[in-house]
């Protein structure tokens, strides 16, 4: 049988799914054990117990100086910035994307401009943002918006343009105005795509967040990683990286579930 026609039993599928994760953990444990056998003070691949100690110190013991549980304050700070940035970007994408996709005047006015702006490397603007907006939250949130919004706008505008023209004309024969076409025909059909666009931008959003936090912050997941980097504290960095990854993966999964729940029709065959 051709490889392309292979069918997997559910059990085999489950095993294959978990295999790379298990392999990663095993490779880490092996590498760690080998390095520690050679040099018990090695900091690059700490043992599981060291990692557990670090997690306990960061997450479940109050910081002796500030009395805060650093892991959680970092998480809250980062998620707050991420939510603000992504929320703003999503709102902009929805409004501008729909307007550009629907209205020829705004499309002519804005589409080439947005296409151009989306090519600006956002990280290169970071120093400018810090100088103009100060080192506080505004500049970090702005970086996420600048990095993420143009692509989402373009994606959404394209989705609007991909709606069959027949649907728009049909809505007109049902007496819809431009506003009502936007509200009852276009908006409900682009919302699932908006959630998908948001999912796809989670990775870049985290990238911009951590870059901004690395340069200037007093809390945050990226801040902590770049702080403890000076002491080669891999025992803190690894749990933080794993936590960030887990958060992003959960958000990705949650958004997809949300889309299926809110827009059941978007899963049906033939409904794009």
């Amino acid at each position: 049988m051709r490889l392309i026609n292979q069918r997997l039993s559910p059990g085999a599928g489950a095993v294959l799914k978990t295999l790379p994760f298990v392999a990663l953990v095993l490779a880490y444990l092996l590498g760690s054990a080998l390095r520690l056998a050679e040099n018990p003070n090695d900091k690059l691949l700490p043992a599981l117990t060291t990692l557990a100690d670090a997690i306990d110190r960061m997450a479940f013991t109050a910081d002796p100086r500030s009395g805060a549980y650093l892991f959680w304050t970092d998480t809250l700070a980062s998620l707050g910035r991420l939510a603000a940035g992504l929320g703003l970007a999503t709102l902009i994408a929805l409004l501008v994307g729909m307007a550009v996709g629907m209205l020829p005047v705004l499309r002519a006015l804005l589409a080439p401009f947005i296409g151009f702006v989306s090519m600006v490397p956002p990280l290169a603007l970071l120093p400018v943002l810090f100088i103009v907006m100060g080192l506080g939250e505004t500049s970090k949130i702005t970086l996420i918006v600048i990095g993420v919004a143009p692509i989402m706008v373009r994606d959404l505008a394209q989705k609007v343009l991909d709606l069959p023209r027949e649907q728009i004309v049909k809505a007109e024969t049902l007496s819809a105005s431009t506003w009502l076409i936007g509200l009852r025909v276009v908006l409900p059909q682009v919302l699932p795509r908006l959630l998908t666009a948001l999912r796809l931008q989670l990775g870049p959003a985290f990238l911009f967040l951590i870059a901004a936090e690395a340069i200037s912050a007093d809390s945050g997941l990226g801040y902590r990683i770049f702080l403890v980097r000076r002491y080669l504290s891999m025992d803190v960095i690894f749990p933080y990286v794993a936590w960030i990854t887990l958060l992003a993966a959960l958000a990705d999964y949650g958004l997809d579930r949300l889309r299926r729940k809110l827009f059941p029709w978007s899963e049906l065959e033939g409904a794009r």
Binding site: E166, Q167, V169, K170, T173, L174, S175, A176, L183, Q189
Partner: protein, 277 residues
Amino acid sequence: MTALSIENVWKEYGDQIVLENLTLEIAPRSFVALVGPSGCGKTTLLRMLLGQEQPTRGRILLDGTPLPPEPGPDRGVVYQRYSVFPHLTVLGNVMLGPELQANRLTGRSFGAARRALADQAREMIAAVGLAGAEAKYPAQLSGGMQQRLALAQALMMKPRVLLLDEPFGALDPGIRTEIHHLMKRLWNELPMTVVMVTHDLREAFTLGTRIVALDRTRSRPEELLRYGATVTKDIAIWPPRVAGRATLYDTEHPQAQDDLTAFASPAGTTRQTPSLI
């Protein structure tokens, strides 16, 4: 009573002349079938009637007034595809038109108005034979059911003109026959003029009161660009079909009949097909 007058209409795209000097009077309550080879401008003509495109020269009148330059609720349309909204249920699709018409800001009806409208919509859904499918999404319907839904959605607006762009072209023959009966009944019962583009001559003669054939009068390759199509045949069905009145040969067939064998022996014309022995 809605008459359409197409007066010396030309349609050009750049150098390409698609339709030339087309003149057509469409009487109220007629059912005009537009036929012709692919690319002869049937759909272009339909789009102009819809208001989606404008004639390059000439004019189109609806009951003596020029057609507005964009589609509106007085002209309904059913396409071969994309006629219904995938994000709305059957009931939602059928209710959409009146909802939009009554609520210019929110596009939604609430409370008693919504319930009244839903009842009206259910009646229409039953009239096109979709009763029981109200909560389904279009993607869960077969092609024939989707076209019934599209008809119901368009008819809720009580359009004066119904424009059909190869609406039944993608359906298989049994389903098509069924939906022809539905179409005929709707045309008989509702005060509308119908213009249908079709590839299927049989369909044209089954449904139409008049068959209009479009074609290019010149077809040498070097002439294709600069000579468009125009009316080459204009056939009135005889004996005439009149909306709301039975004609000699339009015997009523049972509705919702999936099976073509049911039409093989109409009453009074029993004829034994010779068996191949």
